[in-house]
Amino acid sequence: MNKLITLGLVIGLTGCALLMPKEVAAENIDITGTVQSRCTVNTDTPGVYGNPNAHTLTTLPASAGQLPIVRVDTTLANAYNAIISYPTSFASSPSLGDTVAWTGAVAVVQTSSSDMSGYQAGSTTTGAARTYPLSIAGTTWFSVASQASYGGGQNKAFPGGSYTAHVVAECIAQ
């Protein structure tokens, strides 16, 4: 009886081994994704205000400031407008009892294609904002100069403390 059971087990195991596949069939594992138009706004260089005199804050390098640089990437031509605005108010500052006069300028400093060399000439301004139609796919670097003067022409000294202003970079679909 025991011999029969043993024989049965051996046959069964052998049959299973024969029936089992010798190797796993290869499978293709797909990785999917889509390429679509997009606009990416990057902070290339944060700006720093220099304090050349008591009543002035400026990003000019000659005054120990640093120009903020914004990089805009677009993957599709004529899909987006880049709108860059220099600051017109402090996001954070000590209490200021007098007016602050804001000036600034936005300019294209670098491109990824020579075809973009006409961006600055083809841009339009509305107040502190300059609009660039991104007619070429690629990367464009914009510099933003900003200057704040305190005292409404009377050159009052800025109170001591931390001052922060924001550059607004917008990428609006056309």
Binding site: V109, T111, S112, S113, S114, S117
Partner: protein, 249 residues
């Protein structure tokens, strides 16, 4: 693409995966100006050539990225920025993105596939064999038998010559002696002559007169008396004895 230009060692295993270049164009809008950034291939042609046509455009700064398939750095020849037209290129920078394949040469790392354990260097030990030392060979070299055999021969010859000479002399002497021996008269005359040379006759007749020879020397002053101061000699003896005894104290 050499080490001085690249600034890093161009070792085997380095691949270039892309190039980023940046330059500023200074020109008038109406001028035609074309800028080409390129790199030669050592096998001929160019690995990449990127051209920007600035004709009729404002001059400004440009930055571009050129992706490449992983290209061994050994393929890269001279790179250049070529311009045609009116304008200038300023502040040009070209960056090469690279990766390092540490196993391009499997022997670089023992973890690389195909790594072959190097055979240990067996130091060559020179075993001194005295038997092969030229100096020893020279020293143990059998002396040329001609050198010493010749001398012996010469000695033998000399001895033989001497013997010959002796024999000859003897022979010659024997012949002379034979004559002499044979001539007894000659012998007697010789003896006689010898005796005459040594005439001892006078000695036989020599006579020495005898007698008494009295002492001719006399002592003046009488007899010899004892020294009165001889007692001192006793004292001296005492002193002498003390001196002797001293050595036993």
């Amino acid at each position: 693409m050499t080490t001085p230009i690249l600034g890093i060692p161009t070792e085997e295993g380095m691949d270039i995966s892309g190039v980023i270049y940046n330059y500023k164009v200074v020109k008038d809008v109406e001028d035609d100006f074309i800028v080409t950034v390129q790199n030669k291939d050592v096998d001929g042609g160019y690995i990449f050539q990127d051209t920007e046509d600035w004709s009729g455009k404002h001059g400004m700064r440009i930055q571009k990225s050129i992706p490449l398939t992983y290209t061994p750095i050994e393929q890269f020849g001279d790179g250049s920025i070529q311009t045609t037209g009116t304008g200038s290129v300023e502040d040009a920078t070209v960056l090469y993105m690279y990766r390092w394949d540490g196993c391009r040469n499997p022997q670089n790392d023992e973890n690389c596939p195909g790594y072959v354990e190097p055979m240990p260097v067996i130091p060559k030990i020179e075993i001194y064999d005295a038997l092969e030392d030229e100096n020893v060979i020279d020293a143990t070299e059998e002396t040329d038998s001609d050198l010493y055999e010749k001398k012996e021969e010469e000695r033998e010859e000399t001895d033989e010559d001497e013997e010959d000479e002796d024999r000859l002399e003897l022979a010659m002497a024997a012949s002379e002696n034979a004559l002499t021996i044979a001539n007894t008269a000659t012998q007697a005359s010789l003896l006689k002559t010898m005796n005459a040379a040594t005439n001892v006759t006078s000695y036989y007749v020599a006579n020495v007169p005898g007698g008494v020879y009295n002492e001719s020397i006399s002592l003046n002053g009488g007899k010899i008396v004892d020294n009165k101061k001889a007692l001192k000699s006793l004292g001296q003896d005492k002193l002498m004895n003390e001196m002797i005894e001293e050595q036993y104290k």
